[in-house]
Symmetry: D2
Subunit: 341 residues, 4 copies
């Protein structure tokens, strides 16, 4: 067979491990040919590609980024160009395509699959917001990077008697904030799923100071918002792709808390370091397993499905189910964590 692979959307540690696993499994076990499509869907629109053999994926398992490049494509472009994409795939002689990407990519994949492109998806998101899989690669690395930063910041906060508000990634879901907060014993975590009450947050932090502590750490997911009317809050609007823009919740919250607490409050925005660089061992193993099983799924004719982790096993599930709704943090996990407002 001739299998095309592409990586699409934002960066995510583990992409290269998927590519490597796909090439290893396909070429060594099945004797397939693997074609790397350049810069995500763009490669399938423009036909830009290169052959991937064992040599091409040598030593990449632990490297950040993606050797295939990635780009954002406006959803309309794919929607209106389905016919064109099918033609390009045919011209390239592709028997199957393995797109590796997040929610947007998987939606596009589902659309193309419905239109007849033989395709097996691999979910990718540092945000852990894709339904149907226990977790995706990239998330563990993002949390680990955030935790290392939080550990560093906590020692300063402690010595210098400060409140720090640390903004981590998560526009629509609070998974990274929840895990990073739990792993560092943060005093409070605010998430997009639950508009926060700044009154209550202030009480929590004050109670801590009353108990003799000299500092506090608040972890805020990028997309967290206060309950309307409880504090002044500017949203960031939307960008050209229709995505919500960065609203600067940490900065706004730090100003508000400083006023309410009468203590020095500092915002810290961790930003893109969370989504790049060397993946953790956990993410490398998961990405490798996803890659291998995607190739097996191609050979099993399981088109229109994607790989997923369930417990300790890799399963396949219909793309339609994965994209029907975002996987948000459920109430049971908030309550378990206790630090979520």
């Amino acid at each position: 067979m001739r299998i095309g692979i592409l990586t699409s959307g934002g960066d995510c540690p583990g992409l290269n491990a998927v590519i490597r696993a796909v090439v290893h499994r396909a070429t060594m076990h099945y004797g397939d040919e693997v074609i790397g499509l350049r810069d995500g869907w763009r490669g399938l629109i423009d036909g830009e590609h290169r052959k991937l053999d064992l040599h091409a994926v040598n030593g990449i398992i632990g490297r950040g980024g993606t050797i295939l490049g990635s780009s954002r494509v406006r959803p309309e472009l794919l929607r209106d160009g389905v016919r064109h994409v099918l033609d390009v795939a045919a011209d390239l002689g592709l028997d199957a395509v393995v797109p590796v990407g997040g929610e947007g990519t998987l939606k596009a994949a589902w659309l193309l699959s419905e239109a007849g492109l033989p395709l097996v998806g691999v979910p990718k998101t540092i945000d852990n917001d894709i339904s149907g899989t226990d977790v995706t690669f990239g998330f563990d690395t993002a949390v680990q990077v955030a935790v290392e930063a939080l550990d560093r910041l906590a020692s300063t906060a402690d010595s210098h008697q400060r409140v720090i508000v640390v903004e981590v990634m998560g526009r629509h879901t609070g998974w990274i904030a929840l895990h990073a907060g739990m792993a560092t014993g943060a005093d409070a975590v605010v998430v997009p799923e639950r508009p926060f009450d700044v009154e209550r947050l202030t009480r929590w932090v004050n109670r801590r100071f009353a108990a003799g502590k000299r500092f506090a750490v608040v972890v805020a997911a990028e997309g967290a918002k206060p309950r309307p009317g409880t504090m002044p809050f500017e949203t960031g609007g939307r960008d050209e792709y229709g995505h919500e823009r960065f609203a600067g919740v940490a900065r706004q919250l730090a100003v508000e808390l400083e006023g309410r607490l009468g203590k020095e409050c500092r915002p810290v925005i961790l930003g893109h370091v969370q989504r790049g660089g060397t993946p953790t061992a956990h993410d490398r193993v998961l990405a490798t397993r996803f890659g291998r099983h995607a190739v097996d799924a191609v050979h099993g004719g399981r088109f229109g499905e994607m790989t997923a982790l369930r417990g300790t096993r890799i399963r396949l599930l219909p793309l339609a189910r994965a994209v029907e709704r975002l996987k948000t943090v459920p109430r049971s996990r908030y309550e378990e964590a206790e630090c979520v407002l």
Copy 2:
């Protein structure tokens, strides 16, 4: 309630996170008193203990080791002293005990539970060999440490055209070897579950050199053994606790491979760095969840059970089931990895 907690057996990153979570949940949610028992079961034999309040567990979530200390106790000592332990627990006024430990500890816990000690176990092992839970805290850290070392070693092996045989922990199971090998793209992995064929290993490595590579990496679990008769091999015998001693498989295998390959082969033994120090974010979260749910289980009267991860949820399961057999690497996982001999 008055809850005793103890940590027993070898070191494991995440122990302090469990202790912290138990104290937080018990004191803040239930208003319990928590008693830390010193040096594992010894604390319950000698009655050595101290009160644990929020202050005592401040800042420990990310620290290696255990603030309670640990020690190895010969199994007979507990078996013959069940009556005594029950008396000590009664003298200390304990309503429940939460032992955190590996297979040996959980077996002892089960024995004591059968004898009437109200007890909820928390599994702990870097080896990932406890049945009934998808994974235990400590394992992710051990694999991560091994992977960081393997990444360092691979760059040297590549520049200096060597075969390195890296010995990782795992006397009875090959989980660490499997994951560390998968995460670094090792050329071969040998595990205790499957005696290896040194002929075949030699062929694998040679094939690699034939394909133009200049180095090779073999990952060996401590307890891996060659198929009888295929190469000279000295076992390490047993120690005073009846545990198998370290046989030095990497050293023996490196000598054998050097002879067969005619290339420089170097053994590296990673050793105890894998079982100590700061836990990964993954292990901190899991340990925290285990600690919290153990306290809830105590209040739910779920004695004789232990916490376990199943998919994304924490469940309880009977200790008897957890200790009935070691969780070894199943055939399906070997085959998936392809690098296991």
Copy 3:
């Protein structure tokens, strides 16, 4: 003797290592008593202190922050309160004081020394801007943290064809930017010592793209400014202590470059992670040596001096000399680096 020690100013990895070394040397070698003054100069104004014995400094060598706390004190407060400080020192029975701090602290120390307080300084700054010493502890850690972040960011930039502008610490000097830029092969570095020409910067980055590269990394010291008139630029003004406020050079530069290059430019502000947390081995050794030599200097009566590294040796030099001017990056180092605009 009875020696007081205090840590003052912003956080800096290695402070605890200095404290530990002072306590070890003073108590074990000289039989001195060491008094820890709370929250920097405030401890010497309010008299808040505690005794530091070996037990108090156990296990702190690798921890971030400072067990003594720190605070910022307005310079006037010390200047006008010299008499009072001398009285407090006398009341506490201090034979000598060892202040550990940056430029502001050392200036205050010099003032107090002139007024008769027996005092030996230990320089501390992540910015490496203190004259008379080759380097100070904290700097190596700050650069290492910045480099780890830059490594992560570069892999994303490469895969996603972006220009990233990474802002590192350094309000008055470009040492961190220079070293972090050199260590990661950054395409351009802008520093406070040399107002940058945005035209030239654009040319450099464009040349890179012309050579077939798909991304570029610009490192900007916090205090870097464009040459007047070359691009719109808002400064951040000054805070209540008279320090320059954060102007957001990365953000402003990214906007400008995006316009000029027609490529996606992203600002990333590393912020306070650079000044907290576990010190590198290098900084722990240097801090330990400074601590020890400060105690020896006290016993040698070398008051009014401070510790300094010269080559491989620790020397003492007059505080007056250390504070006479900030150590900026010399022209020879720019030229050597070649990446500095």
Copy 4:
């Protein structure tokens, strides 16, 4: 000009950064051509080489190993083949050679320089044992790796009441042991420069336990030896290159101490992880500066010299001086550290 570069001897983090800096400086500033010689001196004996342009060194600054490969060559081979090497250099049209290597390499370089080969050396050693330079790249990384391992091991030793004897690199000098020991507050350090007294070591460790500590850490350089007659000790003999073999001092010392102390003592051998993998920021900057200055030295006709760090500056000094004796740890540094036996 046409400049040849080679990397020789054991692995050392920073080699790729030197290669990159040589290529950048030579090609971009001087318009030179750079030739990479394969596998150290072997490339100059066999003539195996490849052209190095900017593209070839792209992204290597932070990678471990050496893209040129390395190998050990028996000294006689070079000594007897000087004529041949000069011929190969002439055939390749080399105007100068930049060998990057340790003591052995620099000795060979000096020999060849005396014989007329135009050559500028770059010192390389993780052991920090080359005279005339404050430090060499690779050393900081080796110490950092050892310190991270020691931090992990200490938490286990503390929880489990053990004495650990950690063996770090250093066959002839104790620099790594000294710095790693100082940076982690080790209880005792033994080094090759000073045969240790096991009686005294036992007293030190016992004193510690008497003071209420529950564990102890001893750092041993590979080449440390007991004073003759104080304990049984087997040396490792010599290998085919005449180098001393690994004697296993940690293992032998742990057995001896266990007998003397009546406590569990565990040896841990860190091994080759110390000499491979990603260099620290410090080593990348130093390696980059050495590479650049080596090219400037070539253009300045400073043949027969090598780059060196003195204070904050890069200097050149005659190879003859660098190789006349090994730089051992001086008495003043032992005494300063206080933990060295």
